[in-house]
Each structure stands twice: as structure tokens, then as C-alpha cells.
Amino acid sequence: MVQTKKKKSRVPKPVSDRDERWLHFYRQMVKIRLFEEEVNQLYLGAKMPGLAHLYIGEEAIAVGVCEALRQTDYITSTHRGHGHCIAKGATLDRMFSELLGKAAGYCRGKGGSMHIADQESGNLGANAIVGGSAGIATGAAMSARMRGTDQVAVCFFGDGALGQGLLYEAMNMAALWKLPVIYVCENNLYNEYTHYSETTAGRVSARAEAFDILTESIDGQDVKVVHTAALKCVAQARRGAGPSFILCNTYRFHGHHVGDIDRAYYRSKSEEEQWKSRRDPLKLLADWLKKNKMADAKALQAVENDISTEIKAAVNFALNAPYPEPEEVTQHVYA
């Protein structure tokens, strides 16, 4: 049904194990981790209005996927979206500004933590309706095809979205029309405070398989694995061969949101400790970099120090940035 006029697609070069880019991946993951830790501090210090849903523990997915994309490719994100935004190219000062409701924020303070959108980096917006962006990402993919570009769209969502019908409506159409969209399911095991096994019948990947969508079920804690799967799926989308579904098995180290401190009623401390000590995506990559002599402890520490400095400057910028003028309340309702 869609136009086949298309620019010649370029299959991204696979990244070799020796490629220095892995250090860049590490840097991006550290950036998300430290950003989120700072967000938690802002919340605890009562400096941030509202709530935030931290991405800590899932960094390998955003980075592994977004590093397979071009700036002109699209993503849609979720309420747990800071990681996706940063991985796709958002700057930390404007991110913090948005979280604090400042005019310098990506949405002039009108969106906040759950709605960061950045057209320049192809981020069509985080979405606070669970599964709410499945249609938007699929529509962006359709638009890319109709406009004759080879852009692709990535739809990030969590295991909670598996309960939403819209996702299946969108996946059905994407498969029918071979749209360049990649559905990335971040299964962090919990729909808010309920284990996904209590809400989700059958196999998760069987949902995509039913539409004959290419499905990859992977370790979401290993950024190399995520990136390899993403490269494959993005290449397929670019050459017009249709959508794909990457099921990333992962874990949310913090609560559903920053205020979800007492979690014993839905998951055990020992479960959390096991994931943090054995399955931390940053630690897994750091160990691998060291083992393969691609970076030593000193180099990794230097990365953290750099990012730490960047975070401090960014958060100071945001704390000192002005709020929007009161008259802005009626602006941007209509274009």
C-alpha cells in the first residue's frame, strides 16, 4: 500500500569487538546512570516538582538500540524515558531544565519528566500513557516510507504495554505493510507493582511471532547483545523488509518511581541485590572492556569523572534557569 520510492539504504557497519566505540557506549550508559542518580537526589532534596521514573538498570537497552540509529531516525519513549532521550542525543542541561519545569527545558517546562520530546534528535516524545506511542511510532514509520526516505522508527515500551490493545493493532498494520518500525519491549519484570507473570499470559515473543514479525529475545543487560540485535533489526527495516520486535529482558533497579521506596510487598531485597551485583549493565560492560584490554580502570574512572562534571554543570544550569513567564500558560495550545 505504501510507496516504494526510497533512497538507497545503507546497512550500518557492524561494530567489531575491538572497536573503540564500545568505550563511547560505556560513556553513554554512565551518562544515563549518573543523570538518573542526580534526578533521585533532586527528588529527595524536594527540588523537583512531581515524580520521575528512573531508568537505572536498563541503560544497555537505550544505548544499544539508539547507537544503531541515525539522528534522523525516530524514537518514541515512555514514562521511564530519560535514558531513551539521552541515548538519542538530548543534552543534559535541557533535560534537567525540563524536569525542573524551567523555560530552558526541551518543552519549555510544559511536558516535564514524562513528556520530553526533541525534534532535532528524532525523539517524538516520551509518553505517559502506557503503550500510547505504539501508533505514533508506527505512523512515523509509515510517513518515512510515504515520503520516500529510509528513516526507521523505534518504539520503546515496557512489559506493562503488553496489556494494551493498541500495541497489537499497530503491530498488525506494521506487519501487513512492512513498515520500518522496531518494537523494543523492555521487560523489567514489573507492571508498576505487579509481576508481569501475573498479568501476561503465554510467551511475550509469541505475540510478535503471531504477526510474522522478526522477533529477538535477548539479554537486555548486555549492551553488545542489544546493539547486535538492533543493528540487524534496523538494517531489515531500512531495506524495506518490515518490522521487528526485540524483547529485552532487564530489571529496574529502583522503584516504579522515585517515591516507591518500600518495595518488599512486591519484590524481595535479595532479588534486587542479585540483579545489582551480577547483572548491572554498566559493570558487565566495564568488566568486558577491562578483560579485553580495551580500557583500564583508570580510563573508566576518567569517563565517570568527565560525566560527573558535566552533570554538575547541567544541574546547576537548570537550578539557576528561569521559569517560564506566566503568560506562556496559554501558548502552544494550537499551532
Binding site: 517546562g109 520530546a117 517524538l124 500510547g132 512515523a140 510517513s143 510515504m146 498494520m173 499551532a335
Partner: protein, 340 residues
């Protein structure tokens, strides 16, 4: 003031009589020729041309790449429309019955309507969602509702309720060119209604009510097919020596309050007629705006007439009671004008 003087490039020279459905079809075809980013997606829109045959022939000219038959997935196609609109296209999403708007509500209300605002003015959603309203087609409770009040309640959406072929064509062309999400309601019972439509291109701006008939004793404010009902009522009131002014709102959002208030100040009596449920409906909003703006000029309370607050029944004997008719409007108007 009659809004027609503001319409662009109206050629009085070549005017034909065409149906409401043909007017819609022409507007779509013209805009699709004019702008390659315009496309249609919906259930049975291509070869079938919709069950109402409003889109007949479009697929022949524009092909299945631009007139796209979708699965029966209203939420999905609304969502795809939003995503395509955000990324450079101008989708027209066809929702066969207005009752099915319920299935699109998240995409319309939480996504389309808010994306511009939530993004601080960076993103836009030039989406048109065409759908229907109106009862009396013996289609029972799930295919007969007029739910335009729901979307009129949501900031960020524009809402169009045309009453004539001329207005339908000009307003639909404006809707397609608008950079905002627009919900466009067509009364199923009006598709065969004929009216004068110029051959030359024209558009009609939003937020400009149209005085369909001038009068001095009472103002009948109406939407969509209720404009035809009001005109018929005005005809019979004329025989009773009552001069009724009929104002077609044309767009509930934006609402041309100035024209409504101006007419109310002139006639001092107002009835608002709409086919949506009366409670919490469009009539309430309009009546309130008029009461606020013309209170000291009014000689009688502003009266409202909407659909009865019942699910639309199937049996013709029952269904016909639920919607405003010319006779009912005239009867109410006679009462309002009693002490004239």
C-alpha cells in the same frame, strides 16, 4: 455579518447543485491533488468508498498508496495518523461512525490534542479525523450518537460541524490545511442533501458563524443538520408572523461567540439546537456564552434543545422522539415569543 463575504475566491459565476457527499469528495480530491502529503486511511475507504459511498472514485485517481484500507482498528489508525502527522504528512483518518470515536479517544485526547502543548510548541499534528453524527437512520444506540461535545471539551482540538454542501467543502479544505488536529463531523442523513457549490476553489475559515437566515424576533442557533431543522422551523414561524434568525455555528471550536451574542442582543430571544445529548452538551456551552454576553438584552431565558438523554432506540416510533424536529423547535419558539 454573513461570513460568506470572508470566504476566499468565491466565484458567483459558476455554481452547481451538488450533494453534501459530493462536496466532501471534491474537497478531498482537490486537497490531495494540491498536496502530496495528504492521504486517507480508514476502514473500507478505497474500492468500497466507505459504506456511505462518500469517497467513491478517490482510489481510482490517487491509488491505494494514498487511499488506504485499514483493519478494523480505530485506535490503531488514529495513532498511525498522529505519528504520520508529526513527521511531515497530512493524514485524514476516516472513522465510519461517530460512535467509534470512543475507540480513538486516547489517541485523540491524550496524544493528538496535547502534543503541541506538551512539546512546548515544537511538534505539530496536522491531522483530520472525519467521522459522522446523527440519528434517525434506524441504526440503534451504537451507530447513531452525536459525540462532538466530547471532543469540543478538549483544548488542542478543533471541531467542525458543517450544515450545507457549500460549508462542508470549504471547511474540509481548511481542516486539511490546518496545522492542528481537527475533528470533522458529517451528518449521515445529510449526505444526499443538495446545495449550491461554486466550481472555483474556495476555503472557509474556522471560528466564523454563518447567518443562514436573518430575522428580528428570535435567534435559532444550530449545528450540523440541526441548521436545516432550524431553517424549516423559521419557515413555519414566518407564517405565524415571527421573524427568526438562524445562525449556523459551523465550528464549535473555535466558537464565534461575537456573532452569536450580536444576534441575541438584536432579537432578545434565543434557542440553541444541537443533536448531541442535551445534558452537558454543546447547547449548554453556547447558551452560557450567550447568556453571559447578552444578559441585559434578553427578554426570555435562553432555551436549549438537544437529543433526549437516552441511548438512541431502534424502533422508529421511539427513535423519532429523541431528536429535535422543526415542529418541536417551532413550538418552543412560539412559547418563547409569547409575550413579544
Amino acid at each position: 455579518m454573513a461570513a460568506k463575504t470572508q470566504d476566499t475566491a468565491v466565484s458567483e459565476a459558476k455554481v452547481r447543485e451538488i450533494t453534501f457527499a459530493q462536496a466532501i469528495n471534491e474537497a478531498l480530491a482537490e486537497e490531495m491533488r494540491r498536496d502530496p502529503t495528504v492521504f486517507i486511511i480508514g476502514e473500507d475507504v478505497a474500492e468500497a468508498g466507505t459504506p456511505f459511498k462518500v469517497l467513491s472514485g478517490l482510489v481510482k485517481e490517487f491509488g491505494t498508496n494514498r487511499v488506504i484500507d485499514s483493519p478494523i482498528s480505530e485506535a490503531g489508525i488514529a495513532g498511525i495518523g498522529v505519528g504520520a502527522a508529526m513527521t511531515g504528512m497530512r493524514p485524514i483518518v476516516d472513522i465510519m461512525f461517530g460512535d467509534f470515536l470512543t475507540l480513538t479517544m486516547d489517541q485523540l485526547v491524550n496524544q493528538a490534542a496535547k502534543i503541541r502543548y506538551m512539546s512546548g510548541g515544537k511538534l505539530k499534528v496536522p491531522l483530520v479525523l472525519r467521522t459522522t453524527l446523527g440519528a434517525a437512520r434506524r441504526s440503534a444506540a451504537q451507530h447513531s450518537q452525536s459525540l462532538h461535545a466530547w471532543v469540543s471539551h478538549i483544548p488542542g482540538l478543533k471541531v467542525v460541524v458543517p450544515a450545507t454542501p457549500y460549508d462542508a467543502k470549504g471547511l474540509l479544505k481548511s481542516a486539511i490545511r490546518d496545522d492542528n488536529p481537527v475533528v470533522f463531523f458529517e451528518d449521515k442523513m445529510m449526505y444526499q442533501l443538495k446545495g449550491s457549490v461554486p466550481e472555483a476553489e474556495y476555503t472557509i475559515p474556522f471560528g466564523v458563524a454563518d447567518i443562514k437566515r436573518t430575522g428580528t424576533d428570535i435567534t435559532l442557533v444550530a449545528t450540523s443538520s440541526m441548521v436545516q431543522v432550524a431553517l424549516e422551523a423559521a419557515g413555519s414561524l414566518h407564517e405565524a408572523d415571527i421573524s427568526a434568525e438562524v445562525i449556523d455555528v459551523r465550528t464549535t471550536v473555535p466558537l464565534d461567540k461575537a456573532t452569536l451574542i450580536g444576534s441575541a442582543r438584536k432579537t432578545s430571544r434565543v434557542i440553541v439546537i444541537d443533536e448531541g445529548y442535551e445534558s452537558y452538551g454543546v447547547t449548554a456551552e453556547i447558551a452560557s456564552a450567550i447568556a453571559e454576553g447578552a444578559f441585559y438584552y434578553l427578554d426570555a431565558p435562553v432555551r436549549r434543545m438537544g437529543a433526549m438523554d437516552v441511548p438512541v432506540p431502534f424502533s422508529p416510533v421511539l427513535e423519532d422522539q429523541t431528536v429535535p424536529t422543526a415542529a418541536k423547535v417551532a413550538e418552543l419558539a412560539l412559547g418563547v415569543c409569547k409575550n413579544r
